[in-house]
Symmetry: C2
Amino acid sequence: MSADPTERPEDAAWMRRALSLADGVMYTTSPNPRVGCVIVRDGQVLGEGATQPVGGPHAEIRALRDAQARGLPVQGATVYVTLEPCSHHGRTPPCVDALVAAAPARVVVAMGDPNPRVNGEGLARLRAAGIAVTAGVCLDEALALNVGFVSRMSRGTPWLWAKMAASLDGRSALPNGKSQWITGEAARADGHHWRARSCAVLTGIGTVLADDPRLDVRHVATTRPPRKIVLDTHLRMPAGARLLDGAETWIFTAREDAGRAAELAARNARVICLPGADGRVDLPGVMRWLGQHDINEVHAEAGAVLTGALLQAGCVDELLVYMAPMLLGEGAGMARLPSIEDLDGARRFQFVDVRGLGPDVRLRAQDPSRLAAARAAATPARRA
Amino acid sequence: MSADPTERPEDAAWMRRALSLADGVMYTTSPNPRVGCVIVRDGQVLGEGATQPVGGPHAEIRALRDAQARGLPVQGATVYVTLEPCSHHGRTPPCVDALVAAAPARVVVAMGDPNPRVNGEGLARLRAAGIAVTAGVCLDEALALNVGFVSRMSRGTPWLWAKMAASLDGRSALPNGKSQWITGEAARADGHHWRARSCAVLTGIGTVLADDPRLDVRHVATTRPPRKIVLDTHLRMPAGARLLDGAETWIFTAREDAGRAAELAARNARVICLPGADGRVDLPGVMRWLGQHDINEVHAEAGAVLTGALLQAGCVDELLVYMAPMLLGEGAGMARLPSIEDLDGARRFQFVDVRGLGPDVRLRAQDPSRLAAARAAATPARRA
């Protein structure tokens, strides 16, 4: 998308302030999007705010109330908001109504709301009320904050990143299975941030049986811990597994077993049977189910077998790889995939961020076509 | 090393200019070190220069002549030079004599010259002549330019980096051997810069027989192409190999075969028989031989077997890894190494630089103890 011709030189800087407010509620708004809003007149902030946890006010309302609390009228001001204001009655009244009532001269948004109940309608109603609208300012940064919300709204499935920790030569464990700890403290702490921002942490029964992980969030304060999900074809989940900590856990299986399901239900584990044609769990089916259950982002933290299966099933949108500066030579790979004859068959991603984390590096890579689709869905309507 | 208390605020900036001049002769000075020199008075450059190809003048002489050509006397000025000036008669007279004759007030150096014929003597003679000396300014940057020279002078063997190109999951080739091209144009062009700066490009007979590479330098203009070296235990080198292009090539073998050696000599290939106790080529012996033959830096570009053997023999100081954002699953690894039982047995490096190159990333990692040893050898004598 080319830049909106109505964009002004100061817009990007104010939008970045709004994005930073949205970033500040990273761990609390899901399944609602993370949104920030700043109201400005003559270079002065009148009010600002970010989306509150589900059921609480959206960013625009917070910012309007902030201005009101300061006794500063918003009429004629400019409102910067990272997502198109909602135009529908959800758990809260439409933000568009509140904005129209406050009568700013101009609203600048970063991305459109792909929610089919909004999807351009918010911007159209602002324009219809005589408010100038500029759209698409800092679109990519806004999308990065809410790519999971966009995915769920536009294609019905969450955005899934596969988290992996490996040596420089791509070994995720020694031949004897040892993998603690290939990467260091800083990488592990960063991994907890990604767990914390996700709506669900997904692993496989193999990892549960081998390591009995808690899969909880440490190192990050969160009031909304992600759902834990286990893929368990043969329903081997032990009722005493440590990850069954009282919060509802979802176990996807290919095997109907009412007795085992009841036993697990006693530990607050919900068993969902979704067999695929091959007798294993239907992975694309799981993704659709999760999309229907308000899951925006999935943090998959599994072994090479399940990671490979998710890749083969087309369920992986992004790789989150922590790499240690060591060579192991032999051992488990990062993802078990069928042998290919030609590089045309390689699973290709696109690096979007590479950075050092203590002694290690973190490499993020996204599926370029998935990102393009999300970007298209988030591109705001230029005219109603 | 703590900072030299005689360092002045402007020193680092002038030294960086001298380092940049040294960087500009990256491909032409070996086996001499890359050195830059800037002569300054009252914030004005009087003269500057960098080391010329072997037999030509060193950086200090170039800078002094530059000042002379401009008619600017150097007396009382400050000389910035990236390496301790030489104090011995080599192919050219000692730079220290020329500096003393020019009578600057002060000489600032980045690193000491680990050449046993210099090694503090250059700085001592400057001090003895009443010239103020500040040492260790931008030491690490200077070391990075000449780590190979420092290695050869201090431990008698070159600095070797193992160049690898792999997928994100550490596969250097498909199961059928295909590896062209996992990484893209920008990564390959960068690889030619590393070939060009090295004194020797080393590969294994397996790579020669499989790919028949030229191993020459493309994408970079150089008047001093690196020596080509093949490790060839059983002396299987074909006389028609493309890398035998007329320039003298060195072939290390474990097998005496006068007939084959004569046949290869006709292609200007010199066969050196260095068998180890295991009947294979004695790799540490090769490194010592190369050190004795003026090789500062070795660019090893080999398959997983030879790369693994070099690692096991302790011959690898640095990893130069080009990584493509793709997953291959199956295929050759980056280095064949024996299986280990514990992460304590991992071969550990330290990331020193990570950057994007087109769609790929380049990760450089060094052996921390090797780097520390080189740094100690390059740390200038603070007092005579």
